[in-house]
């Protein structure tokens, strides 16, 4: 009898607790967590910090209006960041962490090692990834939920080589990059673009983690090129390579058909005078409209935006993901969101109009393409960035 009374009391207590928590559950706000994975330490830290800044800005933009409209709800958006350390295992650990947190949408990572490590986990757990890696298999039909935030070298290398060849009269180039997939996949596509334009191209690779490039610089000079392309070498490495090339007497043009980072490269190399004649891929053509993004960042987040111009490209990509979530009306069904994303026209209020590309090179049209630029330093003076139309990938 006593036992029965206890049971009744326990049941009553549970019922009261459930009733008491009902209003709370009904009122629980919709919360969208955007995962951010990218390198935030080491020589390539600028790239990851750009992603983090972009995700935080896009979340703040949504929250400014009370949250992202998803179906009938307004979802408060927050960002969960993870340092992928520019390694496959770092990004994989990040993806597992995001899965553990119940996160479905990842902005980032950047770089082939990271995206290679992340993709299998993303596929297994149906994570929608808006990443960037210039590997030859960074995206593809086998990874239907993985999108590229911008074209890889297959899109922009050829137009940049054409501009640089005209300006610096390039006849022979050495393309140098780390000897992992993040280096070789880009350097080989860059080299193909040089060859396509009638320039002799040699590929050179180094072990990631190399700190002193003096021997490799000697090897480069032995090939007697009149240009060197640092491709996707991290900015810190590229800075040392350029510093040592100039010390060794190399006077030719130096290119960077890979991720940007000119300001850090210049700092490590010793300034624009050391860069001297330098050309690079600018993922975004910066005009007043694009600068408004920086202003929005300062206004909403009360801090200086990341200095790397990849930041703007990531803002455009993160906005597309947010638009797709809103259009699909779900924060859990990533397949539905991916479908919405593919069908969205590429049109950003600050970055302009573009298109989805990638079918020719990757076999899937999941690469965001917007107008970009070619940056140049000539005789130590920076020239205005030259605008190039959105790459078609053909």
């Amino acid at each position: 009898m006593i036992r029965d009374n206890r049971s009744v009391k326990s049941l009553a207590a549970i019922a009261v607790f459930c009733l008491a928590s009902l209003p709370l559950s009904a009122a629980a706000a919709c919360e969208l967590k955007l995962g951010m994975i990218g390198v935030m330490s080491g020589p390539a830290a600028q790239w990851g910090l750009a992603i983090k800044g972009a995700a935080e800005l896009v979340a703040a933009e949504a929250n400014k209006n009370g949250g992202l409209q998803v179906g009938n709800e307004k979802c408060k958006t927050s960002v969960v960041a993870y340092d992928g350390k520019y390694t496959a295992e770092g990004a994989a650990a990040g993806a597992n962490y995001m899965v553990g947190q119940g996160i479905k949408f990842i902005i980032g990572p950047v770089g082939s090692p990271e995206i290679t490590g992340l993709k299998p986990i993303a596929n297994r757990n149906n994570l929608l990834v808006m990443g960037n890696g210039y590997a030859k298999d960074a995206i593809g039909p086998q990874w239907p939920l993985v999108f590229h935030n911008g074209p890889g070298p297959s899109g922009w290398a050829d137009p940049i080589v054409r501009v640089a060849k005209t300006k610096f009269n390039i006849k022979k180039v050495v393309v140098i990059a780390p000897n992992d997939q993040g280096g070789t996949d880009i350097a080989s596509v860059d080299a193909a673009a040089y060859k396509k334009n009638g320039i002799e191209a040699i590929e050179e690779y180094y072990q990631r983690g190399t700190t002193n490039f003096a021997p490799i610089v000697t090897r480069i000079l032995n090939a007697r090129p009149n240009a060197v392309d640092t491709a996707s070498s991290p900015p810190g490495d590229a800075g040392v390579i350029i510093k040592q090339l100039r010390q060794a007497g190399f006077d030719g043009a130096i290119g960077r058909l890979g991720g940007p980072g000119t300001s850090e490269i210049a700092r490590v190399a010793g300034g624009y005078d050391v860069l001297k004649n330098f050309y690079w891929f600018e993922p975004v053509y910066i005009d007043d409209k694009v600068r408004e993004i920086s202003k929005a960042y300062r206004d909403l987040l009360k801090a200086e935006p990341p200095e790397n111009n990849l930041f703007f490209q990531w803002v455009g990509a993160a906005r597309m993901v947010m638009k797709a979530i809103s259009k699909a009306g779900t924060i859990t069904d990533t397949k539905k969101v991916a479908e919405a994303l593919r069908s969205l026209p590429v049109d950003d209020p600050n970055l302009g109009k573009g298109q989805w590309i990638g079918k020719e090179f990757f076999g899937i049209n999941q690469e965001l393409s917007l107008p970009f630029g070619v940056g140049m330093i000539v005789n130590g003076k920076e020239l205005p960035v030259q605008r190039i139309a959105a790459a078609t990938g053909k």
Binding site: P215, G249, E264
Partner: protein, 288 residues
């Protein structure tokens, strides 16, 4: 021929930098029996102290280098006295302590100075040229300073009572203590000497290469490789191995490329360790 000689010069330059780093690393192991996983962290600390002294305090570079070596030495001294000394014979504890300090140093620099590389350039620019030969002046100055510092370490270790005391402790601690040598006094000084060398190398080398909070990891890996090759705890072994590694790295990278060059270096180390498991100048069993 020009390329061959240039390679040799690069190899000597690399070897001198590596030797200065490896000497500190091997000293700590030889004398205390501690593998200092914070060695790369002290290199980073030295670089940032020198950078901060030049850029925020306007100090001349020479003073900045001295300040970097002293700051690293003082931190090493305090770290050994307060933390390592209590557990000096517990290899797991010292491993965790030094690993922890390495993380603290790297993250500390990250928090204070940010993740991006600052502009920290060597005050002397220009290149010495003769025909097809060249040596950047900055590298030449760093090479000379490294060689002087290596010479000073040898003098200290082999021509002073302090050095004799440290070597006695390394040879047989019990006998040395029976002779009146006090490890509690000498171990922190040995640690300070070692970390000071790492800080000095960081202050000298980062302006000619690059400075960032994560730059200590490859430095630690290289130091470890050299010290294993030379024989853990052997000063002569570390010096010889540093120049061997510098030369192999220079010639193999130039003639085989960056990838195959790195492979050759590791294969060579592997072969040497198969033939001489205790390294070139190492002993089979550490007496201390």
């Amino acid at each position: 021929m020009e390329g061959f000689v240039t390679c040799g010069l690069i190899g000597i330059s690399l070897g001198a930098q590596y030797a200065l780093l490896a000497l500190g690393f091997t000293l700590i192991f030889g004398i205390l029996g501690v593998v200092n996983f914070a060695h790369g962290g002290f290199y980073v600390l030295g670089g940032y102290v020198a950078y901060a002294a030049v850029h925020y305090l306007g100090a001349p570079y020479v003073l900045a280098v001295i300040a970097a070596a002293l700051a690293s030495a003082v931190l090493g001294y305090v770290f050994e006295l307060v933390l390592v000394e209590r557990r000096v014979d517990d290899h797991h504890a010292t491993l965790m302590l030094t690993l922890g300090l390495n993380l603290i140093l790297g993250t500390g620099m990250l928090v204070i100075f940010g993740p991006e590389s600052p502009q920290f350039t060597f005050p002397i620019t220009g290149t010495l040229r003769s025909g097809g030969y060249y040596v950047p002046l900055a590298n030449f100055v760093v090479l000379c300073t490294c060689l002087l510092a290596i010479g000073a370490v040898y003098l200290l270790m082999y021509r002073t009572d302090f050095g004799r005391a440290l070597r006695a402790l390394a040879d047989d601690r019990q006998v040395a203590m029976a002779q009146g040598l006090r490890p509690r006094l000498l171990f922190p000084l040995a640690f300070a000497l070692s970390t000071g060398l790492a800080g000095l190398t960081g202050a000298l080398v980062t302006p000619i290469l690059s400075l960032s909070p994560s730059i200590g990891d490859p430095v630690l890996a290289t130091s470890f490789l050299i010290v294993i090759l030379g024989g853990l705890g052997s000063i002569g072994g570390a010096t010889a191995a540093a120049f061997i590694v510098g030369m192999v790295e220079a010639y193999s990278s130039v003639y085989l490329g960056g990838s195959k060059g790195a492979l050759l270096l590791f294969v060579l180390v592997l072969v040497i360790l198969v033939v001489r498991p205790s390294g070139l100048f190492g002993r089979d069993v550490r007496a201390a």
